[in-house]
Amino acid sequence: MRADRVWWMPPNGALHGVAIDRLMWWNLVALSSLFVLAHIFLFAAMMRRKKSTSPDTSSSWKRELLPLAGLTLLYAWMAVSAQRLWATIRYQGAAPNALQVEVTGMQFQWYFRYPGNDAVLGATRPELINAPAGNPLGLDRTDPHSADDIISSVLLLPAGREVDLRIRSIDVIHGFFIPGMRLKQNAVPGMEMHIHFTPSVVGDYPILCSQVCGSGHARMQSHLRVVSESEYQAWLASHEPHLTSGATR
C-alpha cells in the first residue's frame, strides 16, 4: 500500500490518469499564479500615491481589455484541452473485448459481479433481493447465465486490461469514486451507467461513496485490488460457482 499523501492526489493507477494529473497540475499552477498576481495587484493598489499631474483616465480601456483578452484565451485553452481528454474518456464506449464487471451500490455496501465463464451476466430482479439468504443482488436463479456469476465485495482487476464497469444502484443515488483511478460516476437507481478505464499499476485503491446516501454514507467503502493477470485468473478459479440451492425468494 502506498504512503498516504495529504497535499496532492493519491498515486495514480490508471492509464488515463497520467493525462488528467498533468492537466490538473497545470490548471492549479496557472490559477494559483493568477491568485498571487491578483493579490500583489491588490496590495500595490493599497499603497497610497501623491497626487500626480496627469489624470490617467485615457488608456483605462486598454488596461482593462488586454488582461481580459488574456484571461479569455487562458479559459479557452483550459476548456479545449480538457474537452479533448473528456472526449477520449467518455464519448466512446469500451472496446468490445473489455472485461465486464457490474458494480451495484446499495445502502451501505458495494457489490461487484463478474459474468463468469459464459461472459454474460445473469438477470436480476428486485423482488428477489434477499441479503440474509445470500442473494443481495436479486439474482434470478432460473436464468442459466446466472449460474456462474461471481459476486464479491472487493473489486479485483488484472492490470493492463480495459474494464467496462456497469454501474447500478438498487435504492438511492450513490457515487462510485476510486480516487486512485481518477474515476467517479454516480450510481442512479433505474439507470445503468457504463464507464471504462484501464488499471495499469498493481496495488490497492480505496473505493469511496461520493454522493450522500443515508446514515452510513461515510462507511460505504470498498477496495479495488489491481493484481497480475495470473493472480486474477487464480482468484476467478478459486471462487465457487454460484450454487443453485438456497432461497429463491
Binding site: 438477470a123 436480476t124 430482479r125 434470478d140 436464468d143 433505474g190 445503468e192
Partner: protein
C-alpha cells in the same frame, strides 16, 4: 385629476400641432419638466391618468411571468418523461408512456372557459366606458358598476361550471381505473389539470372579491384597477389552458 378613461382618437392626434409638423421638443433639464407627453420625464404622481393602473398591471405581469415558469417546469417534465422507459430483464426497451384518451367533456370545458373570457372582457370594457366613468367620478351614481356586475357574475358562474366539468372529467378517468398514481401520463394529466384548476379557483375568489370591492371602494380608479387586473389574470389563465389543452390532446 379626472378618473381614468379611454382617450378618443381625436385627443391623441391633437399632439401634432403647428404648421407643417410637430413643435420642437424641449429637452432642457429644467426642474419639473412636463411640457411634453413623455411620462418618464415627469415626476411621480404626474405621469398621466393611467399611472397607477400601469403599475399594478406591471406587477401582475411579473407575477404571471413567474407563474408561466412554474407551468413551463411542469411541461418540460412532461416532455422529459415521455421518453420514460425501462429495460426488462431480457434487455428489451419497454416504453412506459401510456397515452390516455382525453375525456370529451374537456372540449366543452374549454369552450366554457373561452366564453367566460368574453364575459369578463365585457365587464372590463364597461368599467372603462368614458361616459359612465365620468358620471361615476362626478358622483352621479355608479352606472359603470351596474353595467359590469352582471357580466362579472356570469364569469363567476362560468368559472364554477368549468371547475365542475374538470371534476367530472376526473371522475370519468377514475371510473376507467386511471388515478393520479397509475402511470406517468396520468400523473401529468391530473397534475396539470389540478394546478390549472387551483389557479382558476383563485381567480374565482379574486372575482368574488372584485365584485364586493366594486360596491365598497370609493375611488373610480381603484375599481377599474381591481377589475382590470382580475380580467387580465383570467385571460392569462384561459391562454394557459389553451396551451395545456393542446399539450394534453395532441402531444401525448
Amino acid at each position: 385629476m379626472p378618473a381614468t378613461f379611454t382617450r378618443t382618437p381625436a385627443e391623441i392626434d391633437r399632439k401634432d400641432t403647428g404648421i407643417g409638423g410637430k413643435p420642437p421638443v424641449d429637452r432642457r433639464p429644467t426642474g419639473g419638466g412636463g411640457g411634453d407627453d413623455n411620462w418618464e420625464n415627469h415626476p411621480q404622481g404626474r405621469r398621466g391618468p393611467r399611472e397607477l393602473l400601469t403599475r399594478y398591471r406591471l406587477g401582475l405581469f411579473f407575477a404571471l411571468a413567474g407563474d408561466l415558469m412554474f407551468f413551463i417546469a411542469l411541461v418540460s417534465a412532461f416532455f422529459v418523461r415521455q421518453n420514460a422507459g425501462h429495460f426488462d430483464p431480457r434487455d428489451n426497451y419497454v416504453s412506459d408512456w401510456h397515452p390516455l384518451a382525453v375525456p370529451p367533456i374537456l372540449w366543452i370545458n374549454t369552450a366554457i372557459l373561452l366564453l367566460s373570457s368574453a364575459t369578463i372582457e365585457a365587464a372590463r370594457q364597461h368599467l372603462f366606458h368614458e361616459v359612465d366613468v365620468m358620471e361615476e367620478w362626478l358622483g352621479l351614481g355608479r352606472p359603470a358598476v351596474r353595467r359590469a356586475s352582471p357580466w362579472l357574475v356570469a364569469t363567476v358562474i362560468l368559472g364554477v361550471v368549468f371547475l365542475a366539468g374538470q371534476w367530472i372529467a376526473w371522475q370519468q378517468l377514475a371510473s376507467q381505473g386511471l388515478f393520479f398514481g397509475s402511470n406517468e401520463n396520468s400523473h401529468f394529466f391530473y397534475l396539470i389539470t389540478a394546478t390549472h384548476g387551483i389557479h382558476l379557483a383563485l381567480g374565482i375568489l379574486a372575482l368574488a372579491v372584485a365584485l364586493c370591492a366594486l360596491f365598497m371602494l370609493r375611488r373610480v380608479e381603484m375599481r377599474q384597477i381591481v377589475v382590470d387586473c382580475t380580467a387580465w389574470y383570467w385571460h392569462t389563465m384561459g391562454i394557459f389552458w389553451i396551451f395545456l389543452f393542446v399539450l394534453l390532446t395532441c402531444f401525448q
